[in-house]
């Protein structure tokens, strides 16, 4: 069978149409859902989910094709415009090229990186849709929620498939908008109490914070466009390599400054979108959105977009930019991991974990390990999506409790969720034979290769030391979460938490008065009728309130007789299916990449893996550019070999160390864990407070969100200093400059002009006019004197003549 005729061979005529279909289906679904969603049976969730199923299937099929091509050693880079004539022309006219005005046309660009990312987006989005059917069931604005996550998926698919930076940016912005709408999902729902207030502020914060990064990206884009007059990635790569070569021919060892500046601006976009320090502040607050949205944002779409951008733009970065990227990534990885160890909200732990893992990916790109970074992005997407959805399942099962101190012992009640979450946790912690190990190990390996090979020393050293520390912390806080949530006994109401019984003082929805039973997302406020004290003791209080809610949970098979309803219950089937799919991908993502189908499954050998075959510099950026990029970071064989022997033990040690510490502190019973943790936090009290306060970055930037439940009926559009503090400070600064510098300059110019005018007028009046009148005056004066002599009297004239003659005679005679 020839490769061309094989079912997995890429067929440009047909496959671009399939890809386009996969890309456009969520958009079609969105439009249908927005207009007709409310009227459709089940509010249209089945429609969008099945649409997403088609999309996911196509992406998986296409991904298989990319693997098949890689396996046969073929180059897999497809462009719909060049190969099938499928273009979308924008700012285009056929005769403008001659005048030097560049055209902007978009087409589908499908390469191994895009294939992997597209598959991740398709599968994770499908799982999120499936999960949401159960999780969001019966909540207000259910159909809008589905429409929004569908459009979110559409934006990410478009971003991945885009063949140029401009369209990437367009979809990037669409995603910014959708994240705003989805994080703020509860801001339209006053009955969701705590989340209502939090989400109202958090969505603004997320939008405005990422806007800072987006602006940077736009500036970077324009810088590159200005020089290269193209947005197409393939062109940009080629021109960047040529530009560097040209510059180095003139100044050996130096790189064009403008490329460094442009590259830093593009990285600014990643800082905003992928939540790198110091713009990470929006991400923990993005937890105000519904949990499926968190899974989506944190795994497949939003934050992955920033890392994906780095992968797309890697050839355009100079070593200086890469050093900054590596340092920022490492800093973020450690920084977020430390905060993750102090969080008690199960979603907050995962949020900080996401930031930390994104730091790993960004650092990997900065170290020259694009392949490792992208690999980690893919594996992380699966297990993080699984973790978030599992957390959602736990929250759902525990009656909207999010504080881990109020959980415990959930394993018994939710075995499937526990299995999925544990598998993903092991994967993220970096235990061998689970996918996270391979990708994380590859990143640490990359850092050590740089050190041992003597490249990029400063940032590499920081990364080589910092990343293992962050990995250790990751293992620690992830297992801390597992132990706190699933081990020991169920302990509701241990501490006061705002999540489970929020808004009791303002909402009296009797129809939702399902204490401990409301499967309705934000309808947890439901305990309205119970009074404050009752919440802390749900188990005792529920009996009196159970009956009026019973009708509500008929469709949740998870819980039986209502006298059980204070204990956690396993989630409904669609959620579990989604969890299992993601857990499978999360665990085996790495093997899938690493397995060599010809030889045995030697996935412990890193040196020669299938993943590196299918996603290498050469396959990502073309043979010619890829060779140059690979040569730039290549180290000698000895260093590479040594790095393998450093990285593997280091990865294993830090992972097991982290888990061991977590077990020692949290794994041996709740009371004991509180005692030990209390002692430790007491002994490092000052440090603990700083870390627990998230290093006060929010407070420094003035962006901390304070949710005050006592304040009633907050106006929704009040100028909210706490949320947009940084923007407001900045705007105030600009306004001050405007008033005191720019206006002052204008005024000064005006006043100077006026003064010069006045001086000129005075000169005119005194000097010029004075000269004119002066001449007249002098003449007049002389005239009036001379007039005295002209009396008309003949005798007088004669007198003058005589005396004049005498005087003349006297003068002649005497002198």
């Amino acid at each position: 069978m020839t490769p061309e005729s094989h079912i997995l061979a890429f067929d440009p005529g047909q496959d671009f149409k399939l890809l386009f279909l996969a890309f456009v289906l969520p958009l079609v679904g969105y439009v249908i859902q927005i207009f007709f969603g409310k009227k459709l049976p089940r509010k249209g969730d089945w429609l969008l989910t099945s649409g997403l199923f088609v999309t996911a299937s196509i992406t998986v099929l296409m991904f298989a094709k990319s693997l098949w091509a890689a396996y046969h050693g073929e180059e897999f880079r497809h462009h719909s415009g060049d190969e099938a004539g499928l273009w979308f022309h924008w700012f285009y006219s056929s005769d403008t090229v001659a005048n030097g005005v560049p055209n902007v046309s978009a087409a589908i660009f499908y390469d191994p990186l895009g294939a992997a990312m597209l598959m991740v987006v398709g599968v994770v989005s499908f799982c999120v849709h499936l999960f949401s059917i159960g999780y969001m069931h019966g909540t207000p604005r259910y159909h809008i929620f589905f429409a929004n996550i569908s459009l979110f998926t559409f934006a990410m698919l478009g971003l991945v498939l885009s063949d140029n930076l401009l369209f990437l940016f367009v979809f990037w912005e669409v995603m910014g908008l959708m994240s705003y709408l989805l994080i703020g999902h509860f801001s339209h729902d006053p009955s969701s109490g705590y989340f209502h207030k939090w989400a109202t502020k958090a969505c603004k914060k997320a939008f405005l914070t990422t806007r800072v990064g987006d602006t940077c990206l736009l500036v970077g884009m324009v810088i590159f466009f200005w020089k290269f007059e193209t947005f197409r990635f393939t062109e940009l790569w080629r021109l960047s390599i040529e530009e560097i070569a040209r510059h180095q021919a003139l100044h050996p060892g130096e790189y064009p400054l403008w490329m460094t500046v442009g590259g830093l601006f593009i990285f600014g976009g990643t800082i905003g979108k992928s939540a790198q320090f110091p713009l990470h502040i929006w991400l923990p607050d993005a937890m105000a959105g519904p949990t499926p949205v968190s899974a989506m944002i944190h795994a497949a779409t939003m934050v992955a977009a920033g890392v994906f951008l780095l992968g797309r733009c890697y050839p355009m970065f100079t070593p200086d930019v890469l050093s900054v990227i590596a340092a920022t990534g490492t800093l973020t990885a450690i920084f977020a991991a430390t905060i993750g160890t102090t969080a008690n909200d199960i979603k907050a732990v995962l949020a900080w974990s996401t930031i930390s893992q994104l730091g790993f990916m960004v650092a990997a790109v900065g170290l020259g390990g694009v392949v490792a970074g992208m690999f980690h992005m893919v594996t992380h997407a699966f297990f993080k999506a699984c973790l978030f959805l599992s957390a959602g399942s736990v929250i759902h099962g525990c009656h909207h409790e999010q504080d881990m101190r109020n959980m415990g012992g959930v394993r018994k009640y939710m075995p499937v969720t526990f299995a999925c979450m544990l598998a993903s946790t092991i994967a993220i912690a970096g235990i061998p034979f689970f996918s996270g190990f391979y990708s994380k190990d590859l990143i640490i390996l990359r850092a050590w290769e740089n050190i041992l090979g003597g490249k990029f020393s400063g940032a590499s050293f920081f990364a080589a030391v910092g990343l293992p520390i962050a990995a250790c912390l990751t293992a620690f806080y992830m297992f801390r979460m597992i132990f706190m949530t699933f081990s020991d006994k169920y302990r509701p109401g241990t501490v006061e938490s705002p999540f489970a019984h929020h808004a009791h003082d303002e909402h009296g929805h009797d129809e939702h008065a399902a204490h401990g039973h409301d499967d309705h997302g934000h309808h947890a406020p439901a305990h309205a009728g119970h009074g404050h004290d009752a919440h802390a003791h749900a188990a005792k209080a529920h009996d009196t309130h159970a009956h009026d809610t019973h009708a509500k949970h008929d469709d949740h098979g998870g819980h039986g007789a209502h006298d059980e309803h204070a204990t956690p219950h396993e989630s409904p089937l669609p959620m579990l299916v989604a969890l299992c799919i993601l857990a499978f991908c999360g665990v085996f993502g790495g093997h899938f990449w690493l397995a060599d189908p010809v030889h045995s499954l030697k996935f412990w050998e890193h040196a020669h893996t299938w993943f590196e075959e299918s996603v290498s510099f050469q396959s990502l950026y073309g043979a010619e550019i890829g060779d140059k990029l690979a040569a730039a970071i290549a180290v000698d064989h000895h260093a590479e070999h040594s790095a393998h022997w450093v990285a593997l033990p280091v990865s294993l040690t830090v992972a097991s160390l982290g888990i061991l510490i977590a077990w020692l502190i949290y794994g041996r019973g709740w009371e004991r864990s509180q005692r030990i943790a209390g002692k430790i936090t007491h002994s490092i009290h000052a440090i603990y407070e700083v870390v627990k306060g998230k290093y006060f970055v929010d407070e420094t930037l003035g962006t901390a969100i304070v949710v005050d439940m006592k304040k009633k009926d907050e106006p929704r559009y009040e100028p909210d200093i706490s949320v947009i503090g940084a923007s407001v400070h900045f705007a105030n600064l600009l306004s001050w400059i405007d008033r005191n510098v720019i206006d002052a300059t204008v005024n000064l110019v005006g006043r100077t002009g006026a003064a010069i005018g006045k001086g000129s007028a005075a000169f005119d009046r005194t000097v010029v006019d004075g000269a004119v009148t002066g001449v007249g005056l002098v003449t007049q004066t002389f005239g009036s004197v001379a007039r005295l002599f002209q009396s008309g009297r003949v005798q007088q004239y004669a007198t003058f003549a005589v005396f004049g003659g005498l005087a003349l005679a006297a003068w002649l005679i005497l002198l």
């Binding site: 002209q790 009396s791 008309g792 009297r793 003949v794 005798q795 004239y797 004669a798 007198t799 005589v802």
Partner: protein, 100 residues
């Protein structure tokens, strides 16, 4: 009697004539002053003629001057009449049309 005496008489006569022209308020006296100056010139002519060889030329000039004076007097009196006619006065200070 020497030449100096003649010149002294002539100079006195000339000075009187000039003074008469300059200071007299009546235009007729001014005319008389002019006649006196002419006659002072005549005395000079005649005196220098006598003391310089006694020819006819000095005396001839004197006779011409007398004739000239007669003609001048006729013209001057005509002017005086016109002035009187015009200004209704014989005071030269009032005939100041030259001022305009």
């Amino acid at each position: 009697m020497g030449l100096g005496a003649y010149i002294a008489v002539s100079a006195a006569l000339f000075a009187l004539g000039v003074v008469a022209i300059l200071v007299r308020r009546n235009i007729l006296y001014v005319l008389m002053g002019i006649e006196m100056i002419l006659n002072a010139a005549n005395i000079n002519f005649v005196a220098f003629n006598r003391f310089n060889g006694g020819g006819l030329d000095g005396r001839m000039f004197a006779i011409f001057v007398i004739i000239l004076a007669a003609a001048e007097a006729a013209v001057a009196l005509a002017i005086v009449l016109n002035v009187f006619h015009l200004f209704n006065s014989v005071k030269p200070a009032e005939a100041d049309l030259l001022r305009e």
